[in-house]
């Protein structure tokens, strides 16, 4: 598709300079290593392959989360969202989860979505924690605004972090935002934010060689199979 770059310059939002998220390695309950790292815009088509099957999974609101995340990632890829970032989790090179958000301004972060593809290993918890770590410790923000679209999300974020309710409308619509402050983050960090840096070279090499994506069928089974793990 030909792009009129003159018009495109008008349509593309200005971007704040964002510090990179330093990758880390986390040991999971099954002994495998989860690599959490920042995705690049060029990775988006691969990430969309993994998000696509979730559009049709009603269980645990995966369809809503998937549809919105798909749009957010596409918007980032095509330069239609301001200050967005995306972190991914990989095990043995395979994509096991995605989180994203954006900077509203230098002080305020807006958490978008957390999608766990492999379940039962607290991958969603680890990735959400990494997202909060990014906003507070690397982007240097004072607070992050968060809403949950599923009961699982509510338990994991609002309850486990003891987030503050606010009357601020979240960009995703729905209920008012909850807020993670720097104080809440550092109070929660010892029990919720883990991982080691640097990522061991062999693990890093495997993760960055290629983002492997399970088949649509496997992803559906992992998320909504009989066992519901």
């Amino acid at each position: 598709m030909a792009i009129d770059m003159e018009l495109e310059a008008v349509l593309r939002p200005p971007q704040l300079k964002m510090k990179p998220y330093p990758p880390k390695a986390i040991t999971l309950a099954n002994g495998k290593t989860l690599v959490v790292r920042e995705a690049s815009r060029e990775d988006v088509p691969t990430l969309l392959e993994a998000v696509h099957p979730t559009l049709f999974i009603e269980r645990d609101y995966y369809d809503i989360v998937g549809a919105r995340l798909y749009a957010e990632l596409l918007g980032w890829y095509r330069h239609r969202v301001r200050n967005e970032y995306c972190l991914i989790g990989q095990v043995d090179g395979y994509l096991v989860g995605i989180v994203n958000g954006r900077m509203v301004d230098q002080k305020v972060g807006m958490s978008y979505h957390t999608l766990a593809i492999d379940r039962g290993l607290r991958i969603g918890s680890h990735l959400f924690a990494a997202k909060m770590e990014h906003h507070i410790e690397y982007l240097g923000q004072d607070e992050v605004l968060i809403v949950a679209e599923s009961p699982i999300g509510f338990r994991r974020w609002m309850i486990e972090y003891g987030l503050e309710p606010t009357d601020i409308q979240h960009e995703l619509g729905g209920p008012d935002s909850y807020r993670l402050t720097r104080d809440l983050y550092f109070a929660s960090k010892p029990r919720l934010v883990v991982g080691s840096r640097p990522v061991p070279p062999d693990v890093w090499e495997l993760a960055t060689r290629e983002i492997l994506v399970a088949s649509e069928e496997d992803i559906r089974e992992k998320i909504a199979g009989l066992k519901g793990r």
């Binding site: 986390i26 040991t27 999971l28 309950a29 099954n30 002994g31 495998k32 269980r59 039962g120 290993l121 607290r122 918890s125 680890h126 924690a129 009961p151 338990r155 010892p190 029990r191 919720l192 934010v193 883990v194 991982g195 080691s196 009989l226 066992k227 519901g228 793990r229």
Partner: protein, 402 residues
């Protein structure tokens, strides 16, 4: 027990279950029906009907707002006009239903009995499921103070650790062992193997395995599950004519204890477990050392260790060390919970006591596949633990070759 000499020997000729887990698409009645049909098929019943149906279920009235479940199931299965009853005895409902089926056949009143247990717990959030299970606690002395079963198990664990030297490493050993076995059991809710590193040694385990009721952590507790399991009971003489080897219910025992833990002289003494096992051993004329494998009620890892001592496999204080030494693994001195136990197979409360028996039947018939099979298993023990040890049933099962 007076008059037992007049009883008939009772055997299991059919066993069936459905994979435990989260079964959003199935209703409670669907699950009970599927498991029943599997057991009827396993028994080779064809068009033959049963005389009576005993259905174990703890929470249909609360979770599904449905009562008279046995009446519904017997009609759904086209087993009319068979007698039908629902048995509710907390988490020991399953074994209670087996016991009632056993007595009905042993007495000579019925010849062919279907026993099925099921529960649908994933229909509600985890909080509500925990609250539902807590309805078995004392309404005035426990429940109103917010006591939950994980909380009670946490206090029990702390006391057991202090008195008998059980350590968190011992508990982790049970969790790792049972999840490894669950991975080999196609009916298990949790099929994922875990490692000691991932849930204990690594600093990252603080997130992977957070405390739920100190000193118990996430992987010390069984999952909340949907599922059902079923058995067909008949007189041994009839069972001997069946194609598959008969499994004799060689012994059973049941004992109760104070409803609340705090009323017990020694809360770490699970008297009802000891008594139920002793009764079952006595009736079967066996000793703990004669048992080839056991399914113990490990709703929490500590319970597997405590029960292994109370049924006589190990002396008090030795159960944890036995786990660490590999004595309870497949191939060990006494393999415990090679199904994965409640910890990995799952714990749909009404189904559990039946599922324990089903798995022992599969083992005694050598049907579980090489990776999970206890070699030359001929005699098995089950312990189904109701309340916090206030209503316990045990069965000794023995393979009988015709």
């Amino acid at each position: 027990m007076a008059g037992r000499e007049h009883f008939r020997d009772v055997a299991i000729i059919g066993a069936g279950m459905i994979p435990f887990g989260r079964r959003d698409e199935d209703s409670l009645m669907d699950m009970l029906a599927y498991a029943s049909l599997n057991a009827l098929d396993d028994a080779g019943m064809g068009d033959q009907t049963v005389d009576a149906v005993y259905v174990a279920n703890m929470g249909g009235g609360i979770l599904q707002h449905q009562t008279a479940i046995a009446s519904s199931l017997v009609d759904r299965l086209s087993l009319l006009p068979a007698a039908a009853e629902t048995i509710e005895n907390g988490p020991a409902s399953g074994a209670s239903a087996v016991k009632n089926g056993l007595l009905a056949v042993a007495s000579g009143y019925y010849d062919m009995v279907l026993v099925v247990g099921g529960e649908k717990m994933r229909e509600v959030t985890g909080w509500r499921a925990t609250d539902f299970v807590a309805t078995m606690t004392h309404p005035l002395a426990e429940y109103i103070y917010g006591v939950t079963l994980p909380g009670m198990a946490g206090m029990f664990t702390r006391l057991y650790m202090e008195r008998y030297g059980v350590t968190r490493e011992h508990l982790v050993g049970v969790a790792v062992k049972n999840q490894e076995m669950g991975g080999l059991n196609p009916y298990a809710h949790v099929e994922m193997a875990i490692t000691r590193q991932g849930i204990f040694d690594s600093p990252d385990s603080v997130v992977n395995n957070p405390p739920v009721a100190d000193p118990l952590h996430l992987y010390d507790a069984c999952p909340v599950s949907d599922g059902a399991a079923a058995l067909i009971l008949c007189p041994l003489e009839m069972a001997k004519k069946a194609k598959k080897p008969a499994v004799l219910i060689a012994g059973f025992g049941q004992a109760t204890d104070t409803q609340t833990l705090q009323e017990r002289e020694d809360p770490t003494d699970l008297k009802a477990v000891t008594l139920a096992a002793q009764q079952a051993y006595e009736m079967a004329q066996v000793k703990p050392g004669d048992i080839d494998l056991a399914e113990l009620h490990d709703a929490f890892t500590i319970l597997e260790i405590a029960e292994s001592e109370h049924v006589g496999f190990f002396k008090k204080g030795e159960g944890g060390k036995a786990v660490a030494a590999g004595k309870t693994r497949l191939g060990g001195q006494i393999p415990i919970n090679v199904s994965g136990g409640l910890k990995a197979r799952g714990h749909p409360v009404g189904a559990t006591g039946v599922a324990q028996v089903v798995d022992i039947v599969f083992q005694l018939r050598q049907e579980v596949g090489k990776a999970r099979q206890v070699k030359n298993a001929r005699t098995g023990l089950t312990v189904n633990f109701g309340g916090f040890g206030n209503n316990v049933l045990a069965f000794v099962l023995r393979r009988v070759d015709s």
